[in-house]
């Protein structure tokens, strides 16, 4: 199915306020997730599952890992003769201010993408709040309501100062927004449907405020523009720092939770690899864990997420941890309450542990 109403626009240059070694080698958009995914897979899959065939992808300065992962968009049906995936140079320093996801300057320099389209709507998405949404339902609601912008939100189930909350009035109209989010607030998902004509007008009229986020810039004109809201009732997860990354990942161990994100009718698509099925040897003990293709498991794994191509040797223990691609946990080693970035080798009979409240994070290939 080819979407005849909308094109997509993803800003992949959001930067976490907090430092993390996980972000030394990559932007947040390409952080590995759930064994085989990266965060960028989610906005791309939401757009792909809605049949959207033209997507602008605003790149941070350190774009290499994103480009390696998404390529020309083939895995999301975006390797097209007409349309397709358009990487766009974004602000190299990212959208660093609190809550900034759609830097107006980036949108302005992407103007030709919007001009060339013949579709009436543009779907704007960020990369650090993930969900699995029927975008066509949002587009239909937007079309029906006749407004200029529809902002998608979810009922907040926890406090999160890095998220943004919408103030919603009569008939779902958005009256304003504020930084930070408490339980019960209308948490903005960084997902927007906007009329393409309106976006082009904004590009022309607000160019003097190009250092602002799109919504900051147009805030005084919310009334005139007619901004409406759409409530998403599914599972949404925001990733803002190491803690949220670890907690949200662990929540997805539960299949009931995971099935709200990974459903066959709207699959989360990602780069294809040729890893063989995971291999369990005699003596392996694995429980309440997710294990990816290409893993060789001889030891013990509990309450953990094991990415592609990890080896857990006999007598090794992995507990309550996230182990990224190509790590090796040697015989007798013990890893607990930890995140190991790609390509770490934990030496035999060593212990590597954080605490449940203070997760140990080891950067890419730090241990060899």
């Amino acid at each position: 199915m080819i979407n005849r109403k909308a094109i997509g626009y993803i800003t992949a240059n959001y930067t976490s306020r907090e430092h993390s070694v996980l972000l030394d080698s990559r932007p947040l958009a390409s952080i590995p997730f759930m064994g085989r995914y990266r965060l960028i897979d989610f906005p791309l899959s939401n757009l792909a599952n809605a049949g959207i065939k033209t997507v602008g992808l605003v790149m941070p300065g350190n774009w290499r890992s994103i480009m390696d992962h998404v390529g020309h968009g083939k895995d999301w049906g975006l390797d097209r003769k007409k349309g397709g995936l358009f990487p766009l140079p974004g602000n190299p320093y990212g959208a660093t201010k609190q809550g900034m996801r759609f830097l107006l300057r980036d949108i302005i320099s992407s103007k030709s993408l919007f001009e060339r389209s013949d579709k009436p709507y543009v779907v704007l998405m960020g990369t650090n709040i993930i969900f699995n949404l029927d975008l066509n339902a949002v587009i239909d609601a937007h079309e029906k309501s006749g407004v200029g912008i529809t902002m998608v939100y979810v009922h907040a189930e926890r406090n999160q100062e890095d998220a943004m909350s919408l103030e919603i009035g009569d008939a779902g109209r958005v009256k304003g927004f504020h930084q930070g989010c408490h339980y019960g607030d209308n948490k903005f998902l960084d997902c927007v449907v906007i009329n393409r004509d309106l976006l082009l007008q904004i590009i022309d009229q607000y160019s003097s405020a190009d250092y602002l986020d799109l919504f900051e810039a147009i805030r005084p004109d919310f009334e005139r523009i007619d901004v409406c809201s759409y409530e998403y009732k599914g599972l949404a997860m925001g990733f803002f720092n190491e803690e949220t990354y670890f907690r949200r990942s662990m929540e997805l161990l539960d299949p009931t939770t995971a099935n709200k994100l990974f459903m066959r009718e709207r699959p989360i698509l990602t780069k294809a690899h040729d890893a063989p099925p995971a291999k369990y040897f005699s003596g392996a003990v694995v429980c309440n864990s997710r294990v990816s293709a290409g893993c060789e498991i001889k030891g013990t794994v509990r309450n953990s997420i094991i990415a592609r191509g990890v080896t857990v040797e006999a007598g090794a223990n992995v507990v309550n941890s996230i182990i990224m691609q190509s790590c090796v946990i040697k015989t007798g080693a013990h890893v607990e309450n930890a995140i190991l970035d790609k390509s770490n080798v934990v030496a035999a009979n060593t212990e590597l542990s954080g605490t449940p409240d203070d997760i140990l994070v080891v950067g890419k290939a730090a241990l060899k």
Partner: protein, 381 residues
Amino acid sequence: MSKKECIAMLLAGGQGSRLGALTSKIAKPAVSFGGKYRIIDFTLSNCANSGIDTVGVLTQYRPYRLHAYLGSGSAWDLDERGGGVSILPPYATQDGGAWYAGTADAVTQNLDYIKTHDPKYVLILSGDALYRMDYREMLHTHISNDADLTVAVMPVPWEDASRFGILTADDEGRITKFTEKPEKPDSNLASMGIYIFTADFLIKTLEEDALDQRSSHDFGGDIIPKALADGKRLFVHKFEGFWKDVGTIASYHETSMDLLGPNPYFDLYDYKTPIMSNDTTRPPHYIGPDGKVDDCLVSNGCEILGTARHSVLSTDCVIGERAIVEDSVLLPGAVIKAGAHICRAIIGENAVVEEGVKLGSVDTTKDTAVVGNDVVIGKGE
């Protein structure tokens, strides 16, 4: 198009009737194998890993799912400009249509395809065995011998030799005799059904064979004996590795088990020659709090709440709580519900074994139990 060194013709038209319920709606090469693969993946990966970039796949029996699976060939990096995977079904000409009558006839009807690519050598393959082979080595043998035809052979135990097509060769490897299932074999070199022909010789031979009313148009039955009788240069290429046909339920089951263990007969984890496949995107599998997995291959999308031992679990299988799966192969999407117990069984794609059902036996003298694709097995069935 430019002259190619070597192209492959992959015979994928057979029904695979000995695989019974597994091939009722699907061609044998498209049958699931090894968790995330289909049988044809192994031959296609051999081609890709041997640097052969032009593969004609000859199809005939229920090819739609095979065609859809092959797609553009990009899953095996076989989507070359001026090459790649080409699907070659039977077709009609001015004189009407003709089904492929035998293995040789299938190639004869596609001589135009071969001529278009104008290769020096043609590799003839079938898509129903599990093996890793660098066809470049065989090509090297062929070229070194200045051969017209080279046949890949492997040594089999002498007591089994009378079950195979046996080639007798002299010290230089030149074939002196070919006997189909000899009663008293004088060689233990069995043909693997893999041939390299010098292209000119192949074209000439097939054009002659097509006119021969008495021929059954089969490589083993007609082409090789004729070439031998004509004094052509036929050589063997000895292959020493693992090779196994997966064309029967018993061999399918046995070969699946050969993938398991610390030193498997066929190692999917040999990354130097990776097996490629046209995979679906599913999340990593989940092992539940009480799940037990011992000596298994487990694919993406599985959910294992019970116990799996010495088994191959394909994409999206489910093993319910307290269910036990032993010495079995679950094809993609198979569901074993809570408390069921299966043993030495092959469970077809999206088949369901209902709660509490017991299926199969540890007794290896009994047949492997098979549940066809999409079948639901309830209690008392």
